[in-house]
């Protein structure tokens, strides 16, 4: 959901206040921010740092360490292709190539219409029925090039669910 920036900040404050009592609260907080806003806006880092009594550099360091956290707006639907070994052995290298061409973007890219972001992931735990693709929170197995195109066109016409 796209929110204007002031409501982002007040949401972020609310998220931090609800979660900061937890031991090692930073990851749960970052997850919740990304869940609600879609990414972690750079401008929220100062707020997080102040509230947790840490430096902005520390917060930034944590965000940049983890592949999952991002500081820019992603596409409406997040597509991840598994590029780990078990999927390679079932054709994921070809699927990756096809997906990049079909969407006309590279990994970490977002399509011009802002519908899709493409990322890689190392293993989705579905290693006997690859190649595997995750779209938002849904997992798809045995994804051929044709199935990939079908999935993309389904999501293209679909209104964002979460």
């Amino acid at each position: 959901m796209q929110l204007d920036f002031s409501s982002d900040l007040s949401n972020v404050v609310k998220i931090i206040d609800t979660l900061k009592h937890k031991k090692g609260a930073l990851l749960p907080i970052l997850h919740q921010i990304q869940r609600e806003i879609g990414y972690i806006p750079l401008k929220t880092i100062d707020t997080i740092a102040k509230k947790l009594q840490q430096t902005p550099a520390e917060i930034h360091g944590v965000i940049s360490f983890y592949h999952q956290f991002r500081t820019s707006q992603p596409g409406e639907h997040k597509i991840q292709i598994c590029r780990a070994e078990a999927c390679q052995s079932r054709g994921s290298r070809e699927l990756e190539q096809h997906a990049k061409e079909h969407l006309d973007i590279e990994y970490r890219g977002t399509t011009a219409d802002k519908k899709f972001s493409l990322d890689s992931v190392y293993c989705l735990g579905n290693c006997a029925t690859g190649p595997n693709v995750r779209i938002n929170d849904e997992l798809y197995g045995r994804v051929s090039n044709e199935k990939f195109e079908r999935l993309v066109s389904t999501f293209k016409t679909q209104v964002k669910g979460r």
Partner: protein, 529 residues
């Protein structure tokens, strides 16, 4: 009106192949045909090529159909009503017969996975009916030392990869004087080719919860965390619900089963970082930091989560505990071979026709596992290489398929049994590309603390590229082997020190892919693999 009890999994693999759609089609059909349907969303039996597998209860046991597509639903429902329920026969092309009679299941020894796919993962009644929480009741009646000793007697070794004896780890935490201790379940399951942890969490979550409560009682910890990789949203959802149920029913909380003992449990999500499966990196991550590996000592058992004594155990280690407490350490330790006791849930993956979960006692061989279960490759081409033990494990050529599946036997063969993942490649695999990928994976996933791992892996990719394009091939082979040597000896943790294992196995056992003659002098020099 006919009454039908059916089972359709809500487990990730089944879902990834359309199980929700099949379930919807089944209930639509029964609404239209006015049949009384009792549809259970169970876990998976772990026979993934048959998913979505639909089961039907009859007086003779459960019969299966699979793999079921939505378009098959009407004809299957007809077969059920006209043949199966009245005559106990199946005529449908997807009929599999009695589930329990399927060879894939019959040949296994399911101790940890005894309930998987049979029960509704969130039914406490199902769990209790199949021996659930009987281990906990034994533990509540025992002293903490008695629990630890039972685990020592079982011979259980950590299933997360390092195979450290679980009982000894627990003893250390038990003996550490502290006002606060923690149980941390390592559910980061990052290895490609593995899914056994996920299956436990999605198919039998109460078993993991029970194992963690028992661990708490054993070492004197009243707080537990499951560090779960965020790639597993279904496991997250099921675990969260299971924790709510277990708390409501008095298994978790401040008065476990009326004993006055306390154990609280929480799920924490990772954020796509392979290194956070390494236990000290995991603890850093749980403390809200970058997942940078800590120096050891101190061991987490002495100074773990926020400096307190902490048991860090893999999902499968903790899941073996309820059986061990319920049946006794001896019952568990009678299975297995040499110093590898009990069973290991192997995970057959990659280019394989019949992939899935195969729980067997240690001591069998890769070849017999392939013969008994695999059904050959998915592509119907010959197998060329198998990577066992995840991305840091060796690629084995066919000549090594007879190594016994046993921790020490694998180590002696410069291979890794690890978490039991078995990834099959057919003869189209390019082993130079696989070696390159191992280095590339290390570039992406290194925590960055030490140079051989952080920079060495980048150099590794470059060197392999030069070999690939025949740019001073012989010199670069020597460089690659030196680099591997440096990474092995100069890395703080297994990420850097084991990345060379798949690389070395690739160029030693598949030299032709590096355009090297098999009697190449370079290979003779590099014998440290």
């Amino acid at each position: 009106m006919m009454n039908i009890k059916m089972f359709i999994p809500r487990e990730s693999t089944a879902l990834s192949l359309g199980a929700h759609d099949v379930a919807r089609a089944v209930s639509d059909y029964s609404t239209q045909h006015k049949t009384e349907l009792n549809l259970i969303r169970n876990g998976s039996r772990g026979m993934f090529w048959l998913e979505p597998m639909v089961e039907v209860e009859t007086s003779k046991g459960r019969f299966a159909y699979g793999p079921v597509d939505v378009s098959d639903v009407p004809s299957i429902m007809e077969d059920i009503t006209t043949n199966l329920l009245s005559k106990h026969t199946q005529e449908h092309r997807l009929a599999l017969g009695l589930t329990e009679e399927l060879a894939y299941l019959k040949k296994q020894t399911r101790l940890t996975f005894a309930r998987a796919g049979i029960t509704d993962p969130l039914s406490l009644n199902d769990y209790l009916a199949l021996d659930g929480f009987s281990g906990l009741h034994k533990a509540l009646a025992a002293t903490s030392q008695e629990i630890v000793s039972t685990v020592v007697d079982s011979g259980l070794r950590g299933r997360g990869g390092a195979a450290f004896p679980t009982g000894i780890k627990w003893q250390t935490v038990h003996d550490a004087p502290s006002d606060k201790k923690y149980i941390v379940c390592n559910a980061d399951e990052g290895d490609s080719g593995t899914f056994a942890d996920r299956l436990v969490m999605e198919c039998d979550p109460f078993m993991l919860i029970e194992g963690m409560i028992i661990a708490g009682l054993a070492v004197g910890a009243d707080e537990g965390y499951i560090y779960l990789r965020s790639e597993y949203p279904v496991a997250d959802e099921i675990l969260q619900e299971a924790i709510v149920i277990a708390t409501k029913e008095g298994y978790l909380g401040n008065d476990i089963c009326g004993s006055g003992r306390t154990f609280n449990l929480e799920v924490r999500l990772g954020a796509e970082a392979y290194i956070c499966g390494e236990e000290t990196s995991l603890l850093e991550s749980m403390e809200g930091k970058r997942g940078v590996v800590r120096f050891k000592p101190p061991l987490p058992a002495i100074e773990g989560f926020f400096g307190k004594p902490t048991v860090v155990n893999n999902v499968l280690s903790l899941s073996a505990i309820p059986y061990i407490l319920s049946q006794g350490g001896q019952a568990y330790q009678q299975y297995g071979a040499n110093r590898s006791r009990g069973t290991l849930p192997f995970q057959l993956a990659g280019n394989v026709k019949q992939g899935g979960l195969i729980e067997l006692p240690f001591g069998s061989t890769l070849q017999s596992l392939l013969d008994d279960f695999s059904g050959g490759t998915q592509s119907a081409r010959p197998i060329r290489a198998i990577q066992v033990g995840g991305p840091l494990g060796a690629y084995l050529p066919t000549s090594k398929f007879d190594i016994p599946l046993d921790y020490e036997e694998f180590t002696n063969a410069s291979a890794v049994l690890g978490h039991g993942g078995i990834v099959i490649f057919d003869d189209t695999v390019d082993m130079l590309e696989q070696a390159r990928f191992s280095m590339e994976f290390c570039v992406d996933e290194s925590c960055g603390k030490c140079t051989p791992c952080r920079i060495g892996s980048t150099r590794g990719v470059e060197v392999i590229d030069r070999i690939k394009y025949d740019d001073s091939r012989a010199e670069n082979m020597i460089l690659l082997s030196d680099l591997c040597e440096t990474m092995i000896n100069g890395s703080l943790c297994a990420m850097g020190s084991m990345t060379p294992i798949p690389v070395i196995s690739a160029y030693k056992d598949f030299p032709e892919d590096f355009h090297l003659p098999s009697n190449n002098a370079v290979l003779e020099e590099t014998n440290h693999g």
